[in-house]
Amino acid sequence: MDSLALLCSLYGQGPVTLRRLRDAGCRTCDDVLCLEPAKLADALRTRLPALAERFQREARELAARIGEFGGPAPALESNELAAVSAPALESNELAAVSAPALEEAGAQLRPELLDGLDSALCLRLRSLGIDRVEDLACADALDLARSLEVPVTRVVRLQFLARRLADTCVETESELRTFTLLPRRSQLSAARFSPAESAGELAPLVEQERMEVWAREQAFEPAGVATEGAAGPFGAEAPAPEASAPESEAVDPFA
């Protein structure tokens, strides 16, 4: 598996994205970085250059991590793992995203443009530099939820509606949900990986991952289904979603 295939598996639609990029002449992550965002957006069959730029950021991080530039990346000691973090996606970066030609994507956020977007939330979004539908669609859901102090599921739903309005290349609601629920950028860049130590290092992640998935599933359950103190799928000791998820995630906006 080459780096481009790895990139497409991690952040794209697997073989479909890989074929499109290879048709566009890309062979490595480096080739993806060298493409103009507009050309990359064409290759990815997306109408949003911001998504292409995001893909390029993922490519840059992955290339650095697997050592595509200048040989293999050195393995990190475990105490270094926490110190490694990718550049955070600042809100001013969102504002700097080039505006697409699309009228919908470039539309200013206004109350009632999206179901659930009221005037108060609109003002708070603008104060964070998120003025357009496209900005909202590309923002990090978790960071945004923290900044706005609203449930992450509400942000996820707004982003879904924003992307649908902008008519991205993503075709189905499930894909959108999958896309939106990707972990934050800072989480994605946990550390460079040492193959020899990989299995051992992965072990602590297992339980955390299971709990995250379980908590996420609970967050999408209709209100009232998940009861406080109910046994989780991994035994009676599993905490209720209110205990494991941030407080802001306890309220279900889909209900």
Binding site: M1, D2, S3, A5, L6, S9, L10, Y11, Q13, G14, P15, V16, L18, R19, R65, I66, P72, T178, L181, L182, P183, Q187, L188, A190, F193, P195, S198, A199, L202, A203, L205, V206, E209, V213
Partner: protein, 253 residues
């Protein structure tokens, strides 16, 4: 005929699922595909709506009671199957007392060479058994299926050790390739394991990672390859891409 053995020391790594749907993808490309179920649990047989209760199975073929030609079953999706049955477990017991028993499958498959383009061997979930040893000695490419989950790399490395030992004893050198299965990019553990696999196996790892899909479970329940159940699903796309890779990079390439 090019023979692929799908093996891993770890159970639940996607061997049978990969065998069924990869066979379906190859058959959909017009290839003549033979799938041999070497697992006494007979999941590949069940996954193709077949059974071998009253008909010859892989055991009779391996013991020489029946010719391989007489044990062929037509399965859905244009696949030809030599089914398995619980009684196949007897083979390990019987053959363990004989010398050179790991070369039996290679000998019984020889007459089928001109009848099929590809042969897939679905191995049982232990790499150190006689059935897997037969598959390893009979194959041209050993396909290690590695689930992108916890302990997967340890299982794969253990399997590779056993395979290397078997190959050294048998003086046979098939190409070793690795395919990542059950990949769910939403899970951090899956992404980390895939990155680790790419670092560990490099070019031996196929570009296509088989994504986890509810459609694959439905296909197993329906007893058909994914190409028949949901030809436009992501799972069908993945297996189609994997089949393309097999065609693009044959042994020695």
């Amino acid at each position: 005929m090019h023979t692929y053995a799908l093996a891993n020391h770890k159970g639940g790594s996607g061997k049978t699922t990969t065998a069924i749907h990869l066979a379906g993808a190859l058959a959909a490309r017009g290839r003549r595909v033979l799938l041999i179920d070497l697992d006494p649990q007979a999941h590949a047989t069940l996954g193709l709506s077949s059974e071998a209760e009253d008909s010859p199975c892989a055991l009779e073929v391996l013991t020489g009671e029946v010719r391989a030609l007489d044990a062929l079953h037509a399965a859905p999706g244009g696949i030809t199957l030599i089914p398995s049955h619980g009684r196949l477990a007897e083979f390990e017991e019987r053959a363990a007392r004989e010398l050179g028993s790991e070369g039996v499958l290679r000998r019984v498959l020889a007459p089928l060479a001109g009848r099929f383009d590809e042969c897939l061997l679905d191995c049982p979930p232990r790499a150190d058994g006689l059935l897997t040893a037969n598959a390893i000695c009979a194959c041209d490419t050993l396909l290690l299926t590695v689930e992108t989950g916890a302990f997967a790399l340890q299982g794969a490395l253990k399997a590779q050790e056993i395979v290397d030992a078997t190959l050294a004893a048998a003086r046979h050198a098939p190409e070793l390739r690795v395919v990542a299965t059950m990949f769910d990019r939403r899970l951090r553990i899956a992404r980390e394991v895939l990155i680790a696999m790419q670092a560990r196996f490099g070019a031996r790892l196929y570009d296509t990672a088989i994504r986890s899909s509810a459609r694959l479970r439905e296909a197993a329940g329906a007893g058909v390859p994914i190409q028949l159940l949901a030809p436009r699903s992501t799972a069908a796309q993945d297996f189609a891409a994997l089949a393309d890779e097999l065609a693009l990079f044959p042994v020695g390439a």
